[in-house]
């Protein structure tokens, strides 16, 4: 058992006596006896080696798949070695929010660099320092768009279901209405949007590539939104942004997304990184921390947390959000990842995702798993599933493969730069075998 307390018992007693007490319990005199608790029902503390053994055994009881063809909101990409080195640096790890700018320039500058890179990726004017994850970032974005006259959020049904559920939760809390926009052939039904958008609509949320991996027409959607006085919230995949038209180019007002692909491990779902960026006119509605460039008393370039009049510690119940702690270390991870990959490396990653996913889609179609939608896709796609999905999953597991996710009666596959041609060929062969022989 360790408790990380550097003062041995005898020193503790000396300290107590030095300030006029004789027993530790005297320090707790304000706590009524009736509220004291006896020994807790917790296990006896363990040594470091004991913890290592116990927790390693828990980790060992999970299956780590050498090959993964599943995404749906969590993506396995290559993480350069330097990224892990940077984010393991003890000072970055153990610092608090950079309230004291004089001793936090390293953290603040890294946030500024992160914000700059998010703006470059999304084509937006301003970014915050991060939100909890992509789903809650979308929910916060919907809140940014609401005002007294407009509070209704329209969500494309082609969004990731966790994002939809999170936006619904946040909106329900705010007593703000939410409606689903129907999907046709895997993408938003634009005619339905034209029919549903009205003077009460504050924002429309559209993800591209969407949950099925398909590319949505943000440019056409933003025109419809703006003509009706509503905002477009574009939910994006940061790897795809290396290739595809940006939310900024398409006229979106806010871009949000899950930043996990930028150097974060799968980690059973967290911690991840919600990124949020917006057009210039909405900067002061952004929730959470924002770093800005300024000069110090001696004229040196430096960085501070800024526009804090939006935030809970100043505005309290009038703040744009209650967010305080964010995902700073994950934002640092993304910054290090983007620096390590560079523009060519990121583009190469996106191109490989695209090419390998399209190779896999053809191979799976040839194996009897035809693709369901004909719209353009990035690196995820939905195929029909002519076999029992659970049976297929178990067969793929014997190959060390986590197969696609069963969705809407089909299978949602994800292929990244991590998947080799050999893996894809083996996947297709296994699928064909299950289809032919069960």
């Amino acid at each position: 058992m360790s408790n990380y307390i550097p003062n041995p018992d005898a020193v503790q007693m000396d300290m107590l006596r030095a300030i006029g007490y004789s027993e530790m319990s005297e320090l707790f005199a304000d706590i009524p006896e009736a509220l004291r608790v006896g020994p807790l029902d917790l296990p006896v503390g363990m040594s470091e080696l004991g913890v290592r053994r116990a927790v390693s055994a828990m980790a060992a009881s999970n299956t780590v798949f050498p090959t993964i063809f599943r995404g749906a909101g969590a993506y396995r990409h290559y993480i350069p070695a330097i990224v892990k080195t940077v984010v393991s640096k003890e000072t970055f790890l153990t610092a608090y929010t950079p309230y004291q700018a004089e001793v936090s320039q390293g953290v603040l500058q890294a946030i500024f660099e992160y914000q700059s890179e998010i703006c470059m990726l999304t084509g937006m004017a301003a970014s915050n320092a991060s939100a909890y994850d992509g789903a809650s970032a979308a929910a916060e974005a919907a809140a940014m768009c609401r005002d007294r006259k407009r509070a209704h959020t329209l969500i494309a049904a082609s969004l990731n279901p966790d994002t939809i559920a999170t936006v619904e939760t946040y909106s329900r809390a705010a007593d703000a209405p939410v409606s689903m926009l129907p999907v046709q052939n895997g993408t938003l039904d634009i005619d339905a949007l034209r029919g549903m958008i009205g003077a009460d609509v504050s924002s429309v949320i559209v993800q591209s590539p969407n949950y099925y991996g398909l590319i949505e027409d943000w440019a056409a959607i933003s025109e419809i939104c703006h003509a009706a006085g509503a905002k477009l919230i574009a939910v994006c995949n940061p790897i795809a942004l290396a290739l595809y038209k940006t939310p900024g180019e398409c006229g979106a007002d806010i871009a949000v997304g899950e930043g996990q692909p930028l150097g974060m491990p799968l980690g059973f779902g967290g911690p991840y990184l919600g990124f949020m960026a917006c057009v210039k006119g909405m900067t002061r509605q952004l929730p959470g921390r924002i770093a800005g460039l300024t000069v110090d008393a001696d004229g040196r370039r430096c960085f501070v947390l800024t526009l804090q009049a939006r935030e809970q510690h100043i505005r309290r119940e009038k703040a744009s959000s209650s967010i305080c702690s964010n995902e700073a270390l994950c934002a640092l991870t993304a910054t290090a990842y983007l620096a390590a990959m560079g523009p060519q490396g990121l583009r190469q990653t996106a191109e490989q995702c695209y090419a390998k996913a399209h190779y896999a889609a053809s191979a799976l179609a040839a194996a009897g798993f035809p693709i369901r939608h004909d719209a353009p896709f990035f690196n995820e796609f939905l195929t029909e599933c002519p076999v029992d999905a659970d049976k297929l999953a178990r067969r793929l597991e014997t190959e060390g493969m986590l197969g696609g996710l069963p969705v809407d009666g089909g299978i949602l596959w994800c292929v990244t730069e991590m998947n080799t041609r050999d893996e894809i060929d083996r996947l297709a062969a296994a699928c064909e075998e299950v289809r032919r022989h069960g």
Binding site: M120, A165, A242
Partner: protein
């Protein structure tokens, strides 16, 4: 030990260029092998018009850049960090190693539950330990941070009243003026009208004011105990009883749990919902502002309102349970900041049943020791034993010398320690809030006290030297007004 507080001298005084300013066109490190399938590209009409202007660097330059930035930052590893309300305790390294195990880090959140039993066991085990520590019956690890836990917990209170057909009339959340800003902000995100009640001089709830404020329109009360002045409110049972008497629920902000874990429990004080900060009380690193963990717990009668999904034990095999129709819903994707939860579990397995109250006792001892060593009694916002933190008011010093709490904080930087929290709680003028935590040695506390007393003397002898502090830090008093008036939030391109 004179060098207990010398960390600042190691900071990098040289300006570090922006990562973009280090960029050399064409510089790169190959990360990926060549494409092994036929090349193909999206339709040109779908492509972005120009590539993002990301920096182009070799790996060695990336390494230099972030190492240079690290030397312009200050962490718990560098020195004393008594930032009040933030519980900047030591972050054990075994926890980092365990969170990085491939058996956790490389597990997909949507892989079949039968292949992720170890992850589910981490969640179930940590939930169980946190239930015991908080005195709650049910727990969810989903919220990503303390404020996210507050948002979730208040939503549960709202769902409870609505379920009882009482939602329309219970529109008010009572919050003391000493509360963290996240409390009223989280209440407002749930559509509640915030009723602010005054605290007494000790930061405790003004019971008469509470009685006057509570009524049939009360949804609940949000309270931090020990309060933000670092004092345990001895009337807490009466306070929660008053709220319950009118049909309201009581929310416990766990920011200050470090003082009392293993000593007393929010559940026993009468609270119905609680959030715990894994990144404060349970030693997970703050990461420069996150990720955190904001576990939310509740009494049995509220358990069906917890966020989705919960973990269920089906006779030895663990599954996610989404069949909870009264749940407030999903508050984020997947299941919470899982790798943060791994760290917190390691910490609790290490401390165990003896270590938990020892940590609390020593957090309180260190705070009282520092308080008595640091200042003259007339500078205390109160004059009695504190819990894990205490607040000084520099009002008198400022009146006498012109030296403010801000000036003293900046002066402390020159002494090589991170300053305490400034200007919070709002009910204390010129506040400085110190929270040393249990992981500081007597030598460090003595050195900090000596440094602070020297600064107070300096304030009387040479106040101007403090108005212009810090003198040893890499930069000095950034122009915050300029930053806010003409915001530059990204590299100009």
């Amino acid at each position: 030990m004179a060098d207990a507080l010398s960390a600042l001298t190691a900071l990098n005084k040289e300006d570090v260029p922006l990562v973009f300013e280090r960029s050399v066109p064409g510089a790169r490190t190959d990360m990926l092998p060549p494409l092994d399938v036929p090349e193909s590209l999206p339709d040109a009409a779908l492509l972005r018009s120009e590539p993002p202007l990301l920096p182009e660097l070799t790996e060695g330059e990336v390494s230099r850049h972030f190492s240079a930035l690290e030397r312009r930052a200050f962490g718990v590893n560098n020195g004393f960090y008594p930032l009040g309300s933030c519980t900047m305790k030591y972050n054990p390294k075994i926890n980092e190693e365990m969170a990085a195990l491939p058996g956790f880090a490389d597990v997909h959140p949507l892989q079949p539950e039968r292949t992720a039993q170890g992850c589910l066991a981490v969640i179930a085990r940590l939930e169980g330990m946190l239930r015991e520590i908080s005195g709650m019956d049910a727990m969810s690890l989903q919220p990503a941070a303390g404020a996210h836990g507050e948002f979730t917990g208040v939503m549960m209170i709202k769902a409870y009243h609505e379920r009882r057909g009482d939602g329309k009339r219970r529109t008010k959340m009572i919050i003391p003026d000493a509360a963290h800003g996240t409390n009223p902000a989280s209440a407002a995100m749930n559509g509640y009208t915030v009723v602010t009640i005054p605290s007494d001089a000790n930061g405790c709830v003004d019971v008469a004011a509470l009685r006057a404020a509570v009524g049939a329109d009360t949804a609940g009360l949000m309270l931090t105990n020990p309060n933000t002045l670092g004092l345990f409110d001895p009337n807490v049972a009466e306070i929660t009883g008053i709220v319950h008497g009118e049909g309201g629920l009581c929310y416990y902000d766990g920011a200050n749990l470090n003082a009392i874990m293993g000593i007393t429990r929010p559940g026993d004080m009468g609270f119905d919902v609680v959030h715990l900060n894994l990144h404060k009380t349970f030693a997970t690193p703050h990461g420069g502002g996150g990720p955190g963990g904001g576990a939310v717990g509740c009494k049995a009668f509220l358990s069906e309102y917890l966020p989705k999904p919960g973990v269920a034990d089906n006779g030895g095999s663990l599954t996610f349970d989404n069949d909870t129709p009264l749940s407030v819903g999903k508050v984020r994707a997947f299941y919470g900041n899982f790798l943060v939860c791994v760290r917190a579990l390691c910490y609790l397995l290490t401390l165990g049943r003896e270590g938990v109250p020892q940590a609390a006792s020593n957090a309180v001892l260190n705070a009282n020791y520092l308080m008595r060593r640091l200042a003259d009694p007339d500078e205390f916002a109160h004059n009695r034993a504190c819990m894990h933190e205490f607040v000084l008011s520099m009002k008198k010093l400022k009146a006498e010398t012109g030296v403010s709490a801000l000036d003293l904080a900046k002066g402390l930087l020159d002494k090589g320690m991170h300053p305490p929290t400034m200007y919070f709680p709002l009910i204390v003028e010129e506040a400085l809030m110190f929270e040393p935590t249990e992981t500081e040695s007597r030598a460090t506390l003595d050195a900090a006290a000596e440094a602070f007393r020297a600064l107070v003397k300096q304030a009387r002898d040479n106040p101007d030297s403090l108005h212009t502090a810090p003198h040893a830090a890499p930069v000095r008093r950034p122009d915050e007004v300029r930053a806010a008036r003409t915001p530059i939030l990204r590299r100009e391109t």
